[in-house]
Symmetry: C2
Subunit: 717 residues, 2 copies
């Protein structure tokens, strides 16, 4: 399972560099193939074959000391024997020679190098050293390295036709660009795009990714005018924050469809605290995609199929679909799936139905779906399309088109294309036909050339429309900016955390926990520390009954399981008794309780949990959900990446499964949501100010009609 | 939306008839086409064209009074002008002439008729009358009717090659048979099977299904030796119990892959009681499939893709998958999906790893997945396959096979086919290639001819293997038979229900509810009925405190919302007070409380719900889950079709989301599961004995460490 657990390391320090730097990689005017081979099927031969086959517009210089020509091209012993500029070099030689070759490339003025060879960081220490050696040389000369241990790039732009890759799929020019860490998956995606008849713009699969990074590639695609949508496949992020920053800017302008594999490994991880154990690896990837505005997929086939709609259709302005069908069952299936995707199929206006009545066959069904029936011809489809295009309460159009033998299917296709040209609303088409018949291939070609995304199954077409709608939601969502609470006392908090750190603590003392929370304006149940039973009783009287007492000791993580907590104490005697009992119990277990926390007991609130845990390279994840002792049983929690905005906090409250519980059930009082949101936002600010904090669990936060208070908390620094 | 809500009516009264009766339909030796037409593209012409094109082995008699030949065949004015036997007739004439034609068919000795014409039950009353008229004639002569308003049937058996359908896909002979109510969806499925290169055995799409029914067709496919797996598409069941009975017998012998559309309509339905409103239409379909042993799909593309594995592979004996891959990323994706499907990827034995070490390339990864790397050739795949075939802890094999240009891909394919011939373990293959290249089409053909199911995406292949495994689970699952509790007093219960019915009640009185439950041995909290406050106090003392009092009135459905319930009453005074207060409150609302139920109050138990509600044609659904006032907020309930067996009841307890809650959290006591299971089984028996009961809600059932008691209940008759 080692393979599965492996998360490839992607150095993402370059995202700030000017994307134009990558022009020498994606738009090379001359390419040297270092390690060119006369041997058919070897990578050093296939790359030249592919460049020639695809019609590369620049110069190709095979470099091989033993051959005079390779695939009809003059071969050169070394790059120094080539006349004229070289932008890009492929390197396909044993790894141990690569550092020297990069030095040579530098001297020769080559700007980018694709290292196809393997034998570097993926092969342990020795390989890692070789990788560092060639990287040092590259930096010296300002060379950008792509790879090593990678496929390469493809640019289908007719001005370049640069197929710098050893794969075997030769895509048509189009508007989808692909970035894939794994060459295997990249090839599957490229092949699928090809099979679906979607044109591709650029392709990049960067293997070990030691220099040119995924964020940089995404950024380059973002600037590229020919790229309309981006497909991304990754297996992890070495620097998630850098990725988010770059990708966010691109995702606002162009749809990014992404899939991250390795999601199930997350389930295996376990940690000490609730927040830590519930926020798995996969959760953070999906949160990254969400916060970046990237459309996440869990199925690569669905991702490719959706990209066909993104390549050709405008983004819908809402969730209301008009369905046109010429067969019954597939419309039922489509409706099921569209509704599951959050879309609705609203009734049509009276005016629209009247219009349909005038134009459709008598046996047609005039509603939404509009069933033009199997005998419906071009004019019937056309009138239905016109009605839906002009219908205000419709945002997108879904068509079921079965090629009945007794209709002029070409004419139907022409009408669909004609209407789609206005580009006012997206259209997807479930085109049910037999492509082995010449007649229907013609119909398919009319649709394809007209830019209509065609699918072979009702569910598949509905999913693609669902993806367009999800992107509309992502793009139009405004989460706002995080509130800054000016009343937070950062200086004092800094002092407190420093002092705790210096004293060698891993978990803050209760006194420190509640003081720190108070410094950030997070309400806590009244509390004070006592050393003895008598003092505890005195404090309890002052704070007011009922009271809770908790033994204070760093080694007591689960106090309540170990008899270190006594709740609902009603008078001084009960408090003193509880402290004495607790002392004995804990001493019997061989531990030494130092002090006792006396705190106001607040019965009857809804028990919630608010927590944060640090994620390397990402900052903190904030968790909200149902708290108390049931937190692990119910697992009803949601996460966001900090800093959390008010819009996001509000969304967290509404998106737990038991959200209704917060409003009160059967006459119960609902909770004060604003007070809980306030706690979430203040906690988010606290960890933003102090990134060194590892984990905070406020559990439970007791929420009432009029307020919310932290009743128990722990902080790991 | 009318179209979506429509559930086609399927008469399923014929399932008991001998399946052999359908031989005249599926294996006709001579076919008359009544309404044959010389007009190209008309259905009466297309059907003849299709029969000829597909190579029908029997005789075709076009019936048309005006033409002498149609498509080169002698046409006859009437069926009486034809010499020799006719088994089957197609009818493609206007609906109003159909009853007479069926009469003629009867006289002519025709055994089966496919009515392609529309204009019957789908067109309202007039059409319905016509349908009844021809059905009466058919019954008179013992003719079986297929349709009307339907596509027809196809039998690919080389002995018949009967393409009695007007569609345009001409499948190869194979082992998958399809039954689809909707012709549109049926055609999509048939086309997909064709595109995937899977052979088809038989096809049937029966439209209005007025006589030959889906269960009958399933039963016929079940008997057919050439059918290895069945695909079913339906939009509802007119007689679910009949369907289950027939399909269950078939599903034991052959996999049935099924999809039912119309699932989201369910969400719109609302009912008065919890059980009623939570058990939607869709829930019952999925329960029907589960109890019948049918593999349910929600995506027709996935269903078709899975059928490829069922057509060729044995069923795995367990959930342990061995993965062989020659590329990294796709193995990660496959692992994600396989794990999501409930499969596991166990480590290999030391012996297996040693064997791999001896045979694999040095850069290969020797574990599970086995990465034979891109340069791995036929011998490397072969040795890995042999190791996994011989490895005891592996039940199935998943292969990622990317056709690297530098390997002999044909040899790899031959080795995979060779190993698969032993048929000891199922193999699925994610075959990543470019089918537009001749070279790889050859490789694909080797795999296809060798019966290896090939997919184009890692997730798709993993889902297909997941489906094989799910069928293994379905087939090997033994739910046992329902327990019959002999202590249930059916006679007395009968009396009680009759008397309540005769008194015109819709809901039983509390006294009747608790009496009825007790007659079936379902424990209830001690209770007695009081007419006055004084009597209530007296009873309470006898039963023991604390006590709960509930006002007793048929019009009080939600008693607790209306002040009709008082809980935790600690002495006689509190009871009397509560009754007086209740009386006033209810009288103020203009209602008349007749009596008061005094009941033992049981604090501290886990609140559960057990309920049943009747489903037309199916019997009762039984619901179990978290009860009390949160039942609608948590919606943590599961359903089974009655009668429920002990195995099923136990499964219900473990399959709610909060199942852990039943074991107790953080030192709490767990509940006595057997006592709850007992209640479920007894309730199941009660509604089996009295199918007229509409709904029962036991909510809450209070479950403790030592027992479980019904604390509130209502029964609708």
């Amino acid at each position: 399972m080692e393979m599965i657990a492996e998360v490839k390391t992607v150095e993402q320090t370059n995202e700030a560099r000017n994307a134009k730097e990558l022009d020498s990689l994606f738009k090379p005017k001359a390419i040297a193939v270092i390690g060119a081979s006369a041997k058919e099927l070897s990578i050093g031969n296939v790359i030249i074959k592919n460049l020639l086959h695809y019609g590369y517009t620049g110069k190709i210089f095979p470099i091989n000391p033993k051959e005079s020509t390779i695939r009809g091209l003059t071969a050169y012993p070394t790059i120094f024997d080539v006349d004229g500029d070289i932008d890009l070099a492929h390197v396909i030689i044993p790894s141990k020679f690569v550092p020297q070759i990069i030095e040579d490339c530098g001297k020769r003025g080559i700007k980018s190098v694709i290292i196809n060879s393997a034998g570097f960081s993926e092969m342990g220490e020795e390989g890692m050293a070789l990788q560092q050696a060639f990287l040092d040389n590259a930096k010296k000369y300002g060379i950008r390295i792509f790879g090593p241990n990678c496929q390469g790039i493809i640019n289908t732009d007719p001005a370049y036709k640069a197929y710098c890759d050893f794969t075997f799929t030769f895509p048509e020019s189009g508007s989808i660009s692909i970035a894939a860490l794994s060459g295997g998956v990249g090839a599957v995606i490229m092949q699928s795009i090809f099979d679906l008849g979607i044109g591709m713009r650029m392709y990049a699969s960067n293997g070990n990714a030691c220099d040119v990074s995924i964020p940089e590639i995404i950024s380059y695609y973002g600037e590229d005018e020919g790229t309309k949508a981006i497909i991304l496949y990754t297996e992890g992020f070495a620097n998630p924050s850098a990725f988010m920053e770059t990708a966010k800017a691109v995702a606002k302008r162009k749809p990014i469809l992404a899939m991250k594999a390795g999601r199930t490994e997350a389930g295996a991880k376990a940690a000490a605290s609730h927040t830590g154990s519930l926020a798995g690896v996969d959760i953070s990837t999906e949160l990254i995609f969400e916060k970046t505005g990237i459309l996440a997929f869990r199925n690569e086939e669905e991702m490719c199929q959706a990209s066909m709609a993104f390549a050709t259709q405008p983004i819908p302005k809402g969730n209301r679909v008009g369905i046109i069908t010429n067969t019954g069952g597939p419309a039922v299936i489509a409706t099921d799936e569209l509704v599951s995707e959050g879309l609705v199929i609203p009734p049509l206006s009276e005016r629209a139905i009247q219009k349909l009545k005038e134009t459709q066959l008598p046996e047609a069904s005039l509603g939404n779906p509009v069933d033009v029936v199997a005998t419906g011809n071009g004019i019937h489809f056309r009138s239905a399309l016109d009605v839906l295009m002009n219908e205000e309460q419709i945002d997108s159009i879904y068509i079921n088109f079965v090629t009945a033998p007794f209709t002029d299917t070409d004419e139907v296709a022409r009408q669909i294309v004609e209407v789609s040209k206005t580009r006012r609303k997206p259209i997807v088409c479930n085109f049910m036909t037999n492509m082995s018949m010449e007649r229907y291939r013609t119909t398919a070609k009319i649709l394809k050339d007209g830019g209509i995304p065609c699918y072979a199954f009702p569910t598949t077409a509905a999913k693609a429309l669902g993806a367009l709608y999800k992107y509309h939601k992502l793009r139009t969502k405004d989460i706002g900016t995080p509130i800054i609470f000016k009343d937070a006392d950062k200086a004092k908090a800094h002092e407190l955390l420093d002092s705790a750190k210096n004293s060698g603590r891993e978990f803050l003392s209760s006194a420190d926990v509640y003081t720190l929370l108070s410094l950030y304006g997070i309400p806590v149940a009244d509390w004070q520390i006592a050393d003895t039973a008598q003092e505890a009783a005195r404090i309890a009287k002052k704070i007011g009954f009922p009271t809770v007492v908790k033994a204070e000791s760093e080694s007591l993580i689960h106090k309540s399981d170990m008899g270190g907590v006594a709740v609902n104490l009603k008078n001084e005697e009960e408090v003193a008794d509880a402290v004495e009992k607790m002392k004995r119990k804990i001493e019997n277990q061989g531990m030494k309780p130092l002090q006792f926390l006396v705190q106001k007991y607040l019965p009857g609130g809804k028990e919630l949990i608010v927590g944060v845990s640090v994620k390397k390279g990402l900052g903190h994840l904030l968790m909200f959900g149902i708290g108390g002792v049931y937190v692990e049983t119910l697992k009803d929690v949601v996460f966001k990446i900090t800093p959390v905005t008010e819009v996001e906090a509000r969304e967290m409250l509404s998106s737990i499964k038991m959200a209704k519980l917060l409003d009160g059930v059967r006459g119960e009082k609902g909770i004060n949501r604003s007070k809980v949101i306030d706690i979430i936002l203040r906690l988010s600010q606290l960890v933003k100010d102090f990134p060194q904090i590892q984990e905070i669990d406020l559990n439970p936060v007791l929420a009432f009609e009029n307020g919310a208070f932290t009743a128990d908390a722990r902080i790991k620094i």
